[in-house]
Amino acid sequence: MIDAVQEPLLVVEDSNEDFRMLQRLMQRFEVKNPIYRCSDGDEVLNYLYHKGAYDNPRKAPRPSVILLDLNLPGVDGRYVLERIKQDITFREIPIVVFTTSSNPEDIELCYQKGANGYLIKPMDYKELHNIMRAFVNYWLEANVAPTIKY
């Protein structure tokens, strides 16, 4: 098993509070993976393509999983998903959508565009706890990420 340190998690989340909750839960679950955060769609693309503030590739390592919110300022999550899955260099990266939207149209659309999972942000604190537990268990611990090509 590859060292978790080498398997960064990229969280795309515009809400500071939501991100803080996520960090808190990750700490609880003693997640070792480094966590990177982008707050909007454009930032994700800059991160992946090493542009703008991310022109130093060392500051922006290729993520082994992306946790993607859909409703983002600027370019929204649906577009980001489509861009990444259409790019041959990135499309293997598992993307798990994490959103408030329970709209069946959104769910269908995301899978069609190549999302690898779809999680609904629950309102209830306990449920959130359970969902994040499951995410960590599966995507960060059980699942084998594709080999990173440099």
Binding site: E17, D18, T100, S101, M123, Y125, L128
Partner: protein, 746 residues
């Protein structure tokens, strides 16, 4: 005078009677002025036996200077009648000097010289003429209305002629006449308003009236004086007396007037637009002679009247047209600005009648019929409209004799002998019908009608105005006054304006609809976005409160912890409210995924789900009949039934709760096909009548939150939205305290 007499073949020969009236002498001359015929009364006036004059040159009677004057008169007057051109002649007879007014005219082969005795030998001076005519002309010009004008003319003519009765006949398009103006001796019965059939003045008589400017019969009862010889010796034909002033009178004419008690008759034809428009007729009970001066003045007046008539008729038509136009523009202005188009059309009621001068009107807008003024019964009008729908293909249809084409109309001829139909829409049943009564209803007869009845010895009605009136009544039976072109134009203009207004309104509606659709969509997408964005901070509050409870519980006392827990509950409640908003906005935005759904299967699934989720509850779901297959969005209809059924159990305090689901076949029309009315009936708490509307409002609850298991108050709002998305309708019937029935069509 009556149809019987009109059939007599002799009637076409009134211009060749072979005799003259005896108040003058007629001498027919060849073109070389040799005497061909004379009236037998020549001896009485000139003291010469007729046979002594025949074949003699005119110079036997007249000196060379008179002959020259007569010849020049002949060339100046040619063939036209000579009412203005009298020549004063003085003849020496065996009885001494005699004065005559001579007129002369010529037809193809013959010169006709007429002499009337007179008392003056001098020409009428201009001043004399001026004193006769007076200021009639200037007064005539001052009147503007046709009726005032005609009344003025008859009264002036009565002054001038001193006849007992002077009246104006007017001919309508069919040739029938009516008395439209009258000046009379006060003791005479008025003929004003009397109508005559066309046959009273038959075509040959009309032709003669059109040719000559006057007809003068000073004594109807005088023995007529025959021509000697009877026929023109050159042509062997009777002498054409069409233009002869002295032409004798037809027997029927004599009888007719005798029956009216008339002995002297003087007629001035009125010509308008080269047609015989009417007659000014003067009656006197005793013989009455007019001097040539007076007759010249009358003829002159007649020509002035004919000329001025055109102005008055044109003005009258113009005024009427203007009145219609004015009415119409006012009308259109009010209906186009009115909110309630139909109301504005109907009120004030008289306006709608005046616009085409009708007595009654029916406005039909689909099944709604409004009657205005004098109309047939609603039932008759309904049948008539059906007939119009099936028979009439034009937007405008008019008849002045409806019973002739629609026999049922005879029953209501007093209201609708005349019909004008305006179709406003080809698609909708939008009509305006105007009615006019049988013309007899509109006749306003000033006199006492019975006084005009005169019977012969055998009891039959005598040839008389009353008889004429009866004949005329028979002819105009079942007809109304004709619709004038300007009235038809007025109706068509009204239609065009209304179509324009309706189109505008439709345009406006379409615009509003589009706007509404857009704003509805915007509202839905707004609700969607807003509820999403609302959720984020709400989740923050919720999560942070939980962190406080989890990690910092030791810092709070029991009361503090209670507040924190309430905070968490409130965030959860707010979350469910936002979910409802989201759901509603989704319902408004998402496409319907319609398919054919067997409602029995759909409900079985729902029932199973209810059983599974409430294993301990005592409830029953009845479906007494087999449900149909309908086209709908199954997910939404599932939600609809689930909402209604769960409400039925939620608001139910019975120990044994039940719900019945069924449908009523085809009771309500939707898009012209009968739609089943579905119902969900329960034995629950029921809903009071004043609550039956508001329960469908979003977040509207009738009970405190804790009662009946809580809930957001959105279930029925969602149900309503689902039904509306299917183009249907939902409502509730309830017996308060005993249960409710929700009914809907899709």
């Amino acid at each position: 005078m009556t149809s019987k007499i009109f059939q007599e073949p002799n009637y076409n020969h009134i211009h060749i009677p072979g005799s003259i009236q005896p108040h003058g002498v007629l001498i027919a001359l060849s073109l070389s002025l040799s005497i061909l015929q004379v009236s037998e009364n020549v001896e009485e006036y000139l003291n010469v036996r007729p046979e002594n004059l025949l074949n003699q040159p005119l110079s036997t009677l007249f000196g060379a200077e008179y002959i020259q004057a007569l010849q020049s008169l002949l060339t100046s007057t040619s063939q036209t009648p000579t009412n203005f051109n009298f020549l004063k002649v003085t003849l020496n007879t065996a009885n001494g000097e005699k004065y005559f007014d001579a007129t002369i005219h010529k037809n193809e082969t013959t010169i006709i010289l007429e002499l009337e005795p007179t008392f003056t030998k001098t020409e009428m001076s201009f001043l004399n003429f001026r004193s006769l005519i007076g200021d009639v002309v200037s007064q005539i010009q001052q009147t503007s209305k046709l009726s005032d004008f005609l009344n003025l003319v008859v009264s002036k003519l009565r002054n001038l002629t001193q006849f007992e009765r002077v009246m104006t006949y007017r001919f309508d398009e069919s040739g029938a006449g009516s008395v439209v103006a009258e000046a009379k001796h006060q003791e005479l019965i008025s003929y004003l308003g009397l109508h005559y059939p066309e046959s009273d003045i038959p075509e040959p008589a009309r032709r003669l009236y059109k040719r000559c400017s006057l007809r003068y019969i000073p004594n109807l009862n005088a023995q007529q004086s025959n021509l000697i010889p009877r026929d023109n010796p050159h042509t062997s034909q009777p002498l054409d007396l069409s233009n002869a002033i002295l032409r004798s009178i037809d027997n029927c004419c004599i009888e007719y007037h005798q029956n009216m008690g008339v002995s002297a008759l003087f007629v001035i034809p009125l010509i308008y637009d080269q047609k015989l428009w009417g007659l000014i007729t003067c009656h006197n009970s005793n013989p009455k002679y007019l001097t040539s001066e007076v007759r010249t003045a009358c003829a002159f007046l007649g020509q002035i009247v004919s000329l001025e008539l055109g102005n008055k008729i044109v003005t009258e038509e113009f005024d009427y047209r203007n009145k219609l136009k004015l009415l119409q523009s006012q009308f259109i202005a009010t209906i186009s600005s009115a909110d309630n188009f139909i109301d504005a059309l109907i009120h004030p009621q008289l306006r709608l009648l005046d616009i085409v001068s009708a007595n009654g009107c029916a406005v039909c807008l689909d099944d709604e019929i409004t009657l205005i003024g004098a109309t047939p019964s609603l039932e008759d009008v309904q049948k008539l409209i059906e007939w119009c729908q099936n028979t009439i293909d034009e937007d405008l249809f008019s008849t002045d004799s409806l019973p002739k084409i629609y026999p049922d109309a005879e029953a209501f001829k007093d209201f609708a002998s005349g019909l004008l139909v305006l179709r406003i829409s080809r698609i909708r049943r939008y009509y305006i019908l105007w009615f006019r009564p049988e013309v007899i209803q509109t006749v306003n007869w000033a006199g006492a009608p019975n006084a005009l009845y005169e019977f012969t010895a055998d009891g039959s009605l005598k040839l008389s105005p009353r008889k004429s009136f009866e004949v005329w009544k028979g002819i105009v039976r079942l007809t109304s006054l004709p619709w004038m072109q300007c009235e038809l134009d007025s109706a068509i203009d009204l239609r065009n304006a209304m179509v324009g207004i309706v189109l505008n309104k439709t345009d406006e509606l379409a615009k509003i609809n589009l706007e509404l659709q857009r704003s509805n969509q915007e509202l839905d997408s707004f609700a969607y976005v807003a509820s999403h964005d609302l959720k984020e901070p709400l989740r923050g509050i919720h999560n942070y409160s939980n962190i406080l409870i989890e990690d910092y519980a030791h810092l709070f006392d029991a009361e503090g912890l209670d507040y924190l827990n309430t905070l968490v509950t409130l965030t959860q409640r707010m979350d469910t409210l936002i979910d409802v908003l989201l759901r509603l906005s989704q319902l408004g935005q998402a496409e319907l995924r319609k398919q054919f759904v067997d409602l029995n299967d759909l409900l079985n699934n729902i029932i199973e789900m209810f059983r599974a989720s409430r294993p301990k509850d005592n409830f029953e779901i009845r479906i007494p009949q087999h449900l149909p297959v309908i086209e709908c969005d199954p997910i939404l209809i599932n939600e609809l039934f689930t909402n209604l059924i769960s409400n039925a159990f939620k608001y139910n305090e019975q120990p044994h709760k039940w719900v019945e689901i069924g449908y009523l076949e085809g009771q309500i029309q939707k898009n012209d096909t009968p739609s089943p009315v579905f119902y969900v009936r329960d034995n629950g708490i029921g809903i009071q009548p004043h609550h039956q509307e508001i329960i469908f409002r979003l977040f509207k609850r009738l009970h405190p939150r804790e009662k009946y298991g809580g809930g957001t108050g959105a279930g029925l709002a969602i149900a309503k939205k689902i039904v509306q998305r299917h183009g249907g309708k939902i409502w509730v019937e309830s017996n308060y305290g005993h249960g409710s029935t929700f009914l809907f069509i899709l």
